[in-house]
Amino acid sequence: MSVSIEHPAEAHTEHPGYAIFIKVWLVLLVLTGCLVGMSHVSQTYAVWGLLTLTPLKAGLVFYFFMHLKYEGPLFKVVVLVTLGTLLIFFALLFSDVAFH
Protein backbone atom coordinates (compact mmCIF):
# COMPACT_ATOMS: atom_id res chain seq x y z
CA MET A 1 0.00 0.00 0.00
CA SER A 2 1.50 3.28 -1.00
CA VAL A 3 1.45 5.73 1.86
CA SER A 4 0.16 9.07 0.67
CA ILE A 5 1.18 11.41 3.45
CA GLU A 6 4.30 13.41 2.68
CA HIS A 7 7.08 13.07 5.16
CA PRO A 8 7.55 16.14 7.31
CA ALA A 9 11.25 16.25 6.48
CA GLU A 10 12.40 19.38 4.73
CA ALA A 11 11.68 19.42 1.03
CA HIS A 12 14.77 21.43 0.18
CA THR A 13 18.01 19.96 1.41
CA GLU A 14 20.31 22.40 -0.41
CA HIS A 15 19.77 25.91 0.99
CA PRO A 16 20.29 28.93 -1.26
CA GLY A 17 23.16 31.26 -0.36
CA TYR A 18 23.47 35.00 0.25
CA ALA A 19 24.35 35.96 -3.30
CA ILE A 20 21.07 35.08 -4.98
CA PHE A 21 19.04 37.24 -2.59
CA ILE A 22 21.34 40.22 -2.96
CA LYS A 23 20.99 39.97 -6.73
CA VAL A 24 17.21 39.89 -6.44
CA TRP A 25 17.34 42.92 -4.17
CA LEU A 26 19.39 44.83 -6.75
CA VAL A 27 16.86 43.95 -9.44
CA LEU A 28 14.06 45.15 -7.18
CA LEU A 29 15.81 48.50 -6.68
CA VAL A 30 16.32 48.90 -10.41
CA LEU A 31 12.66 48.08 -11.08
CA THR A 32 11.59 50.65 -8.50
CA GLY A 33 13.73 53.19 -10.30
CA CYS A 34 12.11 52.29 -13.62
CA LEU A 35 8.66 52.58 -12.06
CA VAL A 36 9.37 56.07 -10.74
CA GLY A 37 10.93 57.05 -14.04
CA MET A 38 7.94 55.85 -16.05
CA SER A 39 5.52 57.70 -13.81
CA HIS A 40 7.32 60.93 -14.68
CA VAL A 41 6.99 60.40 -18.42
CA SER A 42 3.21 60.43 -18.72
CA GLN A 43 0.01 59.16 -17.13
CA THR A 44 -0.22 56.30 -19.63
CA TYR A 45 3.29 55.14 -18.83
CA ALA A 46 2.55 55.43 -15.12
CA VAL A 47 -0.45 53.14 -15.45
CA TRP A 48 1.50 50.64 -17.55
CA GLY A 49 4.30 50.73 -15.02
CA LEU A 50 1.77 50.06 -12.30
CA LEU A 51 0.24 47.15 -14.17
CA THR A 52 3.49 45.46 -15.23
CA LEU A 53 6.43 46.36 -12.99
CA THR A 54 4.55 46.24 -9.69
CA PRO A 55 3.31 42.65 -10.07
CA LEU A 56 6.80 41.75 -11.32
CA LYS A 57 8.36 43.19 -8.17
CA ALA A 58 5.81 41.45 -5.97
CA GLY A 59 6.43 38.24 -7.87
CA LEU A 60 10.18 38.45 -7.24
CA VAL A 61 9.61 38.91 -3.52
CA PHE A 62 7.21 35.96 -3.47
CA TYR A 63 9.40 33.71 -5.57
CA PHE A 64 12.77 34.35 -3.97
CA PHE A 65 12.47 36.13 -0.63
CA MET A 66 9.45 34.10 0.39
CA HIS A 67 11.10 30.90 -0.88
CA LEU A 68 8.27 29.89 -3.21
CA LYS A 69 10.94 28.81 -5.67
CA TYR A 70 12.11 26.18 -3.21
CA GLU A 71 8.69 24.95 -2.11
CA GLY A 72 6.58 22.19 -3.59
CA PRO A 73 3.60 22.78 -5.91
CA LEU A 74 1.05 23.11 -3.08
CA PHE A 75 2.29 26.51 -1.92
CA LYS A 76 2.36 27.82 -5.47
CA VAL A 77 -1.21 26.63 -5.99
CA VAL A 78 -2.31 28.32 -2.76
CA VAL A 79 -0.90 31.65 -3.93
CA LEU A 80 -2.33 31.30 -7.43
CA VAL A 81 -5.78 30.39 -6.11
CA THR A 82 -5.73 33.48 -3.90
CA LEU A 83 -4.67 35.81 -6.67
CA GLY A 84 -7.15 34.19 -9.05
CA THR A 85 -9.97 34.66 -6.57
CA LEU A 86 -9.12 38.32 -6.08
CA LEU A 87 -8.93 38.80 -9.84
CA ILE A 88 -12.37 37.26 -10.30
CA PHE A 89 -13.86 39.38 -7.50
CA PHE A 90 -12.34 42.37 -9.22
CA ALA A 91 -13.65 41.42 -12.67
CA LEU A 92 -17.17 40.71 -11.45
CA LEU A 93 -17.28 43.98 -9.53
CA PHE A 94 -16.27 45.80 -12.68
CA SER A 95 -19.04 44.08 -14.61
CA ASP A 96 -21.19 46.46 -12.58
CA VAL A 97 -18.97 49.54 -12.39
CA ALA A 98 -17.72 49.60 -15.95
CA PHE A 99 -21.09 49.14 -17.64
CA HIS A 100 -23.02 51.82 -15.83
Binding site: Y18, W25, L29, G49, T54, V61, F65, M66, F90, V97
Partner: protein, 200 residues
Amino acid sequence: MSGHVHRDDYGARLGMWLFLVTEMVLFGGLFIAYSYMRYRYPAEFHHGGSELNVTLGVTNTIVLLTSSLTVVLAIVAVQRAERKRALAFLSTTLALGLIFLVIKSFEWGAKFHHGLYPNSPHLATLPPGEQVFFGLYFTMTGLHGVHVIVGLGVLSVMLWWVATGRVRQDRYIHLENSGLYWHLVDVIWIFLLPLFYLAA
Protein backbone atom coordinates in the same frame (compact mmCIF):
# COMPACT_ATOMS: atom_id res chain seq x y z
CA MET B 1 -1.67 18.49 27.56
CA SER B 2 -2.11 15.38 25.48
CA GLY B 3 1.59 14.95 25.06
CA HIS B 4 1.72 14.12 21.37
CA VAL B 5 3.97 16.93 20.34
CA HIS B 6 5.10 16.18 16.86
CA ARG B 7 7.06 18.50 14.69
CA ASP B 8 5.86 19.38 11.21
CA ASP B 9 7.75 22.33 9.75
CA TYR B 10 6.10 21.91 6.39
CA GLY B 11 2.67 22.03 8.06
CA ALA B 12 3.69 25.12 10.01
CA ARG B 13 4.76 26.85 6.81
CA LEU B 14 1.52 25.80 5.12
CA GLY B 15 -0.44 27.27 8.01
CA MET B 16 1.53 30.51 7.72
CA TRP B 17 0.92 30.72 4.00
CA LEU B 18 -2.79 30.21 4.55
CA PHE B 19 -2.69 33.03 7.08
CA LEU B 20 -0.94 35.16 4.47
CA VAL B 21 -3.79 34.28 2.11
CA THR B 22 -6.18 35.98 4.52
CA GLU B 23 -3.86 38.99 4.68
CA MET B 24 -3.68 39.19 0.90
CA VAL B 25 -7.45 39.08 0.64
CA LEU B 26 -7.80 41.64 3.44
CA PHE B 27 -5.69 44.14 1.53
CA GLY B 28 -7.19 42.85 -1.70
CA GLY B 29 -10.56 44.15 -0.50
CA LEU B 30 -9.00 47.58 -0.04
CA PHE B 31 -7.35 47.42 -3.45
CA ILE B 32 -10.73 46.58 -4.96
CA ALA B 33 -12.29 49.54 -3.15
CA TYR B 34 -9.42 51.70 -4.42
CA SER B 35 -9.90 50.70 -8.05
CA TYR B 36 -13.67 51.15 -7.77
CA MET B 37 -13.15 54.71 -6.59
CA ARG B 38 -10.28 55.51 -8.91
CA TYR B 39 -12.38 54.40 -11.87
CA ARG B 40 -15.05 56.78 -10.67
CA TYR B 41 -12.81 59.77 -9.90
CA PRO B 42 -9.75 59.55 -12.18
CA ALA B 43 -8.99 63.28 -12.20
CA GLU B 44 -9.41 63.70 -8.45
CA PHE B 45 -7.13 60.75 -7.72
CA HIS B 46 -4.58 62.22 -10.09
CA HIS B 47 -4.72 65.51 -8.26
CA GLY B 48 -4.74 63.89 -4.82
CA GLY B 49 -1.63 61.90 -5.73
CA SER B 50 0.21 65.09 -6.62
CA GLU B 51 -0.17 66.25 -3.02
CA LEU B 52 1.86 63.29 -1.74
CA ASN B 53 5.60 63.40 -1.30
CA VAL B 54 7.11 61.07 -3.93
CA THR B 55 10.60 61.32 -2.45
CA LEU B 56 9.47 60.06 0.93
CA GLY B 57 7.37 57.33 -0.69
CA VAL B 58 10.26 56.05 -2.78
CA THR B 59 12.69 56.30 0.15
CA ASN B 60 10.35 54.19 2.24
CA THR B 61 10.11 51.66 -0.58
CA ILE B 62 13.87 51.28 -0.64
CA VAL B 63 13.95 51.05 3.16
CA LEU B 64 11.38 48.25 3.20
CA LEU B 65 12.92 46.34 0.28
CA THR B 66 16.24 46.39 2.06
CA SER B 67 14.68 45.27 5.33
CA SER B 68 13.14 42.35 3.45
CA LEU B 69 16.54 41.43 2.11
CA THR B 70 18.12 41.43 5.55
CA VAL B 71 15.43 39.12 6.92
CA VAL B 72 16.02 36.56 4.21
CA LEU B 73 19.79 36.89 4.75
CA ALA B 74 19.25 36.28 8.46
CA ILE B 75 17.60 32.97 7.60
CA VAL B 76 20.59 32.01 5.44
CA ALA B 77 22.87 32.92 8.34
CA VAL B 78 20.88 30.77 10.77
CA GLN B 79 20.94 27.87 8.32
CA ARG B 80 24.71 28.18 8.28
CA ALA B 81 24.89 28.52 12.06
CA GLU B 82 26.39 32.00 11.78
CA ARG B 83 24.59 33.41 14.78
CA LYS B 84 26.37 36.76 15.00
CA ARG B 85 25.65 37.50 11.38
CA ALA B 86 22.02 36.50 11.85
CA LEU B 87 21.71 38.87 14.78
CA ALA B 88 23.27 41.68 12.75
CA PHE B 89 20.90 41.11 9.84
CA LEU B 90 17.84 40.98 12.06
CA SER B 91 18.88 44.11 13.93
CA THR B 92 19.26 45.89 10.60
CA THR B 93 15.72 44.84 9.68
CA LEU B 94 14.37 46.18 12.94
CA ALA B 95 16.23 49.45 12.48
CA LEU B 96 14.96 49.81 8.91
CA GLY B 97 11.40 49.07 10.05
CA LEU B 98 11.68 51.82 12.63
CA ILE B 99 13.09 54.22 10.03
CA PHE B 100 10.10 53.39 7.85
CA LEU B 101 7.72 54.29 10.66
CA VAL B 102 9.56 57.52 11.43
CA ILE B 103 9.42 58.63 7.81
CA LYS B 104 5.78 57.63 7.68
CA SER B 105 4.95 59.68 10.75
CA PHE B 106 6.67 62.75 9.30
CA GLU B 107 4.63 62.28 6.18
CA TRP B 108 1.34 61.94 8.04
CA GLY B 109 2.30 64.85 10.26
CA ALA B 110 2.82 67.06 7.21
CA LYS B 111 -0.59 66.07 5.85
CA PHE B 112 -2.25 66.86 9.14
CA HIS B 113 -0.37 70.15 9.20
CA HIS B 114 -1.87 71.06 5.81
CA GLY B 115 -5.31 70.16 7.11
CA LEU B 116 -5.47 67.02 5.00
CA TYR B 117 -6.99 64.43 7.28
CA PRO B 118 -10.40 62.73 7.39
CA ASN B 119 -13.20 64.97 8.66
CA SER B 120 -10.95 68.06 8.50
CA PRO B 121 -12.58 71.38 7.59
CA HIS B 122 -10.12 71.86 4.75
CA LEU B 123 -10.76 68.42 3.27
CA ALA B 124 -14.51 69.09 3.30
CA THR B 125 -13.95 71.94 0.85
CA LEU B 126 -12.23 69.69 -1.67
CA PRO B 127 -14.14 67.81 -4.39
CA PRO B 128 -15.71 64.49 -3.22
CA GLY B 129 -13.25 62.34 -5.18
CA GLU B 130 -10.29 63.86 -3.35
CA GLN B 131 -11.93 63.31 0.02
CA VAL B 132 -12.26 59.64 -0.88
CA PHE B 133 -8.65 59.60 -2.09
CA PHE B 134 -7.36 60.81 1.25
CA GLY B 135 -9.78 58.57 3.13
CA LEU B 136 -8.29 55.59 1.32
CA TYR B 137 -4.75 56.92 1.65
CA PHE B 138 -4.97 57.13 5.42
CA THR B 139 -6.82 53.83 5.73
CA MET B 140 -4.46 51.83 3.55
CA THR B 141 -1.17 53.30 4.70
CA GLY B 142 -2.48 53.24 8.27
CA LEU B 143 -3.43 49.58 8.13
CA HIS B 144 -0.09 48.86 6.51
CA GLY B 145 1.61 50.77 9.31
CA VAL B 146 -0.18 48.63 11.87
CA HIS B 147 1.19 45.57 10.10
CA VAL B 148 4.70 47.03 10.18
CA ILE B 149 4.38 47.54 13.94
CA VAL B 150 3.13 43.96 14.44
CA GLY B 151 5.95 42.69 12.22
CA LEU B 152 8.53 44.61 14.25
CA GLY B 153 7.14 43.05 17.41
CA VAL B 154 7.36 39.56 15.97
CA LEU B 155 10.87 40.12 14.61
CA SER B 156 12.03 41.47 17.97
CA VAL B 157 10.99 38.18 19.51
CA MET B 158 12.90 36.38 16.77
CA LEU B 159 15.99 38.47 17.54
CA TRP B 160 15.67 37.35 21.15
CA TRP B 161 15.22 33.72 20.17
CA VAL B 162 18.19 33.73 17.83
CA ALA B 163 20.27 35.27 20.61
CA THR B 164 19.14 32.63 23.12
CA GLY B 165 19.48 29.78 20.67
CA ARG B 166 15.82 28.87 20.55
CA VAL B 167 16.02 29.57 16.84
CA ARG B 168 19.04 27.72 15.50
CA GLN B 169 20.44 25.76 12.59
CA ASP B 170 18.16 22.73 13.02
CA ARG B 171 15.07 24.63 14.13
CA TYR B 172 14.30 27.95 12.46
CA ILE B 173 10.69 27.57 11.35
CA HIS B 174 9.58 30.47 13.56
CA LEU B 175 12.06 32.79 11.97
CA GLU B 176 11.06 31.58 8.52
CA ASN B 177 7.37 32.24 9.21
CA SER B 178 8.07 35.65 10.72
CA GLY B 179 10.10 36.43 7.63
CA LEU B 180 7.17 35.43 5.42
CA TYR B 181 4.96 37.88 7.28
CA TRP B 182 7.51 40.66 6.92
CA HIS B 183 7.89 40.03 3.19
CA LEU B 184 4.14 40.22 2.72
CA VAL B 185 4.11 43.60 4.44
CA ASP B 186 6.81 44.59 1.97
CA VAL B 187 4.77 43.32 -1.00
CA ILE B 188 1.77 45.36 0.09
CA TRP B 189 3.92 48.47 0.18
CA ILE B 190 5.20 47.63 -3.30
CA PHE B 191 1.59 48.06 -4.43
CA LEU B 192 0.84 51.12 -2.31
CA LEU B 193 3.71 53.11 -3.80
CA PRO B 194 2.38 53.36 -7.38
CA LEU B 195 -1.27 53.46 -6.30
CA PHE B 196 -0.85 56.58 -4.19
CA TYR B 197 2.51 58.29 -4.63
CA LEU B 198 2.92 57.72 -8.35
CA ALA B 199 -0.77 58.22 -9.20
CA ALA B 200 -0.13 61.77 -10.30
